[in-house]
Subunit: 419 residues, 2 copies
């Protein structure tokens, strides 16, 4: 089937899915979860073939691990679907209601988008997560996973569709694109009228391609050059814990910190503590030390690598931290405005005025006072789930849960009103 045909089938299924009530959608989800474990042998077999192929192609170990499925991982995916079933249904919720002087009752009601397309990379579990979140929010999904995981994703989609069929639902509620070429991705990005929302999840290259080429509504996700500003009025121990956590707890994720800005006033006290904690203490504990890339002023206080220009514009996703000394919160705000990807930034300070200025002026999806940037996450924000983290301002910003997969419409009841 061509991508166009898949999209047409998906579009045709939107009407039926939009009309399903919460109980029916949950019944579909539970059937999908059951089918996933029921068909786990076929899924594991397809995954073994993907792995063998990837290994033969020289895929690095970290990536192989992302691609690998096990009984436990499949059970986790099924459990994930059941958890989505347990979440509240966003569709049909009345966001606001107004009765006008002319008697018209105007309700703003949450509604599905229609067809949600998702382009993602190697982790096959995204396939079942995305299918479940789309279905719960009343959307038909069109999935396009990574080429390396094609066999695994296909087997997962076959299982999910078998579950839907068994309960009498159209299998076209969940769809997968068979063309994993770059042209296939472009086709999704330009399918005006057939794709109501496109969510790319992946590296900077994929996101850039979407911004450049998409003609359908699209959400930018993920890239995070996150900053932590340690203010003159910071508790240095708290600042140390926050920078350490934001940098080292999971450096490969988008909410990890990449840049630490330090107030000139506190730098002589704080920077030596930072260097000790991130380099020598970690080395002594057998952990990978953090490479500090220092501006000239920081380099005069602690040892490290001199920072190049690019170091303040790079998402390292690794044990590297760029460090710059700034005059004050104003200069920190200006630096962030010039270099941030508008994901997550934090200030550590005991000064309420500095905190207020920082949260008002920093134009990012999540702005923290005295906490780690690592909390930018659907689960941590209490959304119950997450389809991605938007770094754009249109529609959704920050962690996207079920509500962010919906739109709204106005439903107006009258008794013959004319204008």
């Amino acid at each position: 089937m061509t991508t166009r045909e898949v999209l047409r089938e998906a579009k045709a299924a939107t009407g039926a899915l939009a009309l399903l009530g919460s109980e029916e959608k949950n019944r579909a989800l539970l059937a999908m979860a059951e089918a996933l474990t029921g068909e786990q042998e076929a899924i594991l077999q397809a995954n073994r073939e993907d792995l063998a192929q990837a290994e033969a192609n020289g895929m690095p170990g970290v990536m192989l691990d992302r691609l690998r499925l096990t009984e436990a991982r499949i059970a986790g995916m099924a459990q994930g679907i059941r958890e989505v079933a347990a979440l509240p249904d966003p569709v049909g919720a009345v966001i606001s209601r107004v009765e006008r002087p002319n008697g018209l009752v105007i309700e703003k009601v949450r509604a599905p988008m229609g067809v949600v397309a998702m382009i993602y990379e190697s982790r096959p579990n995204v396939t079942s997560d995305a299918a479940a979140l789309a279905l719960k929010s009343g959307n038909v999904c069109v999935l396009r996973g990574g080429k390396e995981a094609f066999g695994s994703s296909s087997a997962i989609v076959r299982a999910l569709r078998a579950g839907l069929r068994r309960e009498g639902f159209p299998e076209t509620f969940v769809n997968m694109v068979l063309d994993t070429s770059r042209a296939g991705a472009t086709e999704l990005m330009t399918a005006v009228g057939l794709v109501d929302l496109l969510i790319p999840r992946g590296g900077a290259g994929l996101i850039r391609a979407c911004v450049e080429q998409a003609k359908v509504p699209c959400i930018q996700t993920g890239t995070g050059i996150c900053h932590i500003y340690v203010d003159a009025a910071a508790d240095p121990r708290m600042a140390l814990d926050i920078v350490d956590n934001a940098k080292t707890s999971r450096p490969s994720v988008c909410n990890a910190a990449e840049v630490c800005l330090v107030s000139r006033e506190i730098a002589p006290v704080f920077l030596p503590m930072l260097a000790e904690r991130l380099t020598s203490a970690r080395a002594a504990a057998g952990k990978p030390p953090v490479e500090l890339r220092l501006d000239r002023e920081a380099a005069a206080i602690i040892p490290g690598v001199p920072a190049g220009e690019a170091d303040f514009d790079t998402e390292f996703l690794n044990y590297i931290l760029a460090v710059r000394v700034v005059a004050d919160v104003q200069e920190a705000i200006a630096h962030i405005a010039a270099h941030s990807t508008h994901h997550s930034e934090a200030i550590v300070t005991g000064d309420a005025h500095a905190a207020e200025l920082f949260t008002a002026a920093v134009d990012s999806a999540a702005v923290y006072v005295n906490a780690s940037t690592r909390f930018t996450d659907g689960g941590e924000f209490g959304l119950g789930c997450e389809i991605g983290i938007s770094t754009q301002k249109l529609h959704a910003r920050g962690p996207m849960g079920l509500e962010e997969l919906t739109t709204y419409k106005y439903v107006i009841h009258g008794s013959g009103q004319i204008r």
Copy 2:
């Protein structure tokens, strides 16, 4: 100044505008209103030159009237700005607040977009409306009006900026693009990182160009092929009033009806009433009669022009109505799904079940039961103002007021939390 330079100045002004409180913004707005009337001679002079040029170029009378400014119209524009000042400020409103078990307090706070660019056509009053709505919502605007109104718009922007300066605000809160060529519009559409939101207001050609070319976040506005379905259970008199109003009260606007679908059961009663009201009664009253373009089944009941295929996919914006007989509400829903531009649709019925099915299944910005589609309007919806009507599903749908010109950010307060 090049468009790029205008955009850079605009971007540089966003920080200062985002930090202004409601009182300061209102002070700026009132100064803008005052300057508009203060400089009305210069504005009227520029407008006379635009009009002379347009007339020499053979612009039709209706368009000349749109372009024409008078003392009264300028007073109306100034009054419009004062009304925007009186509206509640959307910025800073806390949309939701949650305290997490770990003590983090997460607030979702309404924030400005940054730079809002607007491309519009000949009416010069849009210039002051758009500037006022953008400023009130904390956004720096970049305006690009029609070539024919260039002198008028320039004079208006000069006045607005003079008002800003007089009160000590940067004049770069309101900006205008000097390049009115097509390439200039494309430059706005592709200024990634400099335009946070683009709103095209104009004909189908402009909207299509934006969908095709825009790489910045963009809202589609305006095109409306609006349907009214007269159900078997409709009160025929109510249906008649609604169709008449939706078609003839102002046929040139996007919320006017273009298509009437009639249930087969009621067609023999309703269609003759419709033909009488829209054609002979109007002619007798000296009003332009409505041309009825009829499908075969309707043509067997009343006189009219046989409908061609295109008639059910055309925004006539004129005294023309396409009429089709359908079996029932299901067939009406299917017709609308195939032909609508997702703006506004109405059902006229006394059957609650049919109404419920219609409102649930029709995928449009505004879905009416027993009321005219003409109510799709910011003022009629109680938003107090309107920057346009979105026919897309991402971000904003239907009439866009001040809130729809904003985004949100998460502001998180902690006491040293790490993950």
